[in-house]
């Protein structure tokens, strides 16, 4: 029985953000934008969606008088990401048979 792919993660930019955040302890918004080549507006929207479902934590603070947004994956986010990768593997294994 196949699990449906998580619709929150099965999106190009959100999956890219989650893949970056799973590899680091935390990352600034500018780092994520640099690595994904996304526009600031689009990235903000997708980050908000990931935050709303509890997959990431977003902290806004000031650093040297400039606003700084830091993102961090949550334990729920890690669990969802692992389940997504597992579901992908299942699909691919069936494709091979």
């Amino acid at each position: 029985m196949f699990k449906d792919l998580d619709p929150i993660l099965h999106s190009q930019l959100r999956l890219a953000v989650m893949s970056l955040l799973i590899s680091v302890k935390e990352a600034e918004f500018t780092f994520i934008r640099e690595k994904t080549n996304a526009t600031a507006g689009n990235l903000s929207v997708q980050i908000q969606k990931l935050k709303d479902v509890g997959y990431i934590e977003v902290n806004k603070q000031f650093k040297d008088n400039y606003p700084q947004t830091t993102c961090k994956i949550t334990p729920e986010g890690i669990q969802a990401f692992e389940a997504y990768v597992h579901a992908l593997q299942q699909y691919l294994q069936v494709g091979k048979q």
Partner: protein, 228 residues
């Protein structure tokens, strides 16, 4: 990755995940500044102390204070690198914990070496015991204040620990070999006098940190150049 979101196939999803993980890993580069700083802060005092003991002169102050003074630029380096850092890797936070623990351990070892003689002397006297030094040439026997025998060996043993961890974890051979050499120097120090121990400290500073630091710096500048 701009504009409209397109439907991903399973293969595309996996490729995207792999590429992002790879990109995240590529974002971390050691500047090598701290390694160069600490390599110099151990190698220079090591060589100067060796020269002072070997050729009987004194430069007017304890050169090992330079190692203590190196903490000040290290604080500035840490603040500056922290500001530039846009992401913290898991690996990096573990390495920071290892080096912080090492810093505390070195500090505590220095305190132990300085406090231990007076305290031990008092404790021995309280038990009605004292250490005596018998000069075989003059035949004189005098009171001897207890001291930590083989201090250099303890430092060499401690120097190699964080370097070896970093070398293994980061798969960075110059630090791995530097740390292994440090273990060799640790064994050598069993058989050398305090004068030559200073030379061993200098060699440890050069191979443990100074050379790996220059290699890291070169790599960092090369990567920085290609990213511009």
């Amino acid at each position: 990755m701009t504009g409209e979101e397109k439907e991903l196939s399973e293969q595309e999803s996996l490729r995207l995940i792999a590429s992002m993980i790879h990109k995240a890993k590529g974002g971390f580069h050691e500047t090598g500044t701290s390694a160069i700083l600490w390599g110099s802060a151990v190698a220079i005092p090591g060589f100067i102390s060796f020269a002072e003991l070997k050729w009987n002169f004194y430069i007017g102050f304890d050169i090992w204070l330079l190692t203590l003074a190196a903490i000040i630029p290290q604080i500035f380096i840490s603040i500056r690198e922290g500001r530039r850092r846009k992401a913290v890797s898991h690996d990096e936070s573990v390495m920071n914990a290892v080096w912080t623990t090492y810093g505390f351990s070195i500090m505590l070892l220095v305190i132990y070496i300085n406090v231990m003689p007076s305290v031990s002397d008092q404790l021995l006297r309280a038990d009605g015991v004292e250490w005596l030094e018998h000069n075989l040439t003059t035949g004189k026997t005098e009171h001897l204040k207890p001291y930590v025998v083989g201090q250099t060996s303890l430092f060499l043993l401690l120097y190699s620990m964080p370097t070896l961890v970093t070398g293994i974890a980061r798969k960075f051979k110059p630090m791995l070999y530097g740390a292994l050499l440090c273990y060799v120097l640790f064994f050598v120090s069993f058989f050398t006098s305090f004068t030559y121990d200073m030379l061993l400290m200098a060699v440890a500073g050069i191979f443990n940190w100074l050379i790996p630091g220059f290699i890291l710096r070169k790599k960092y500048l090369k990567t920085k150049g290609t990213n511009v």
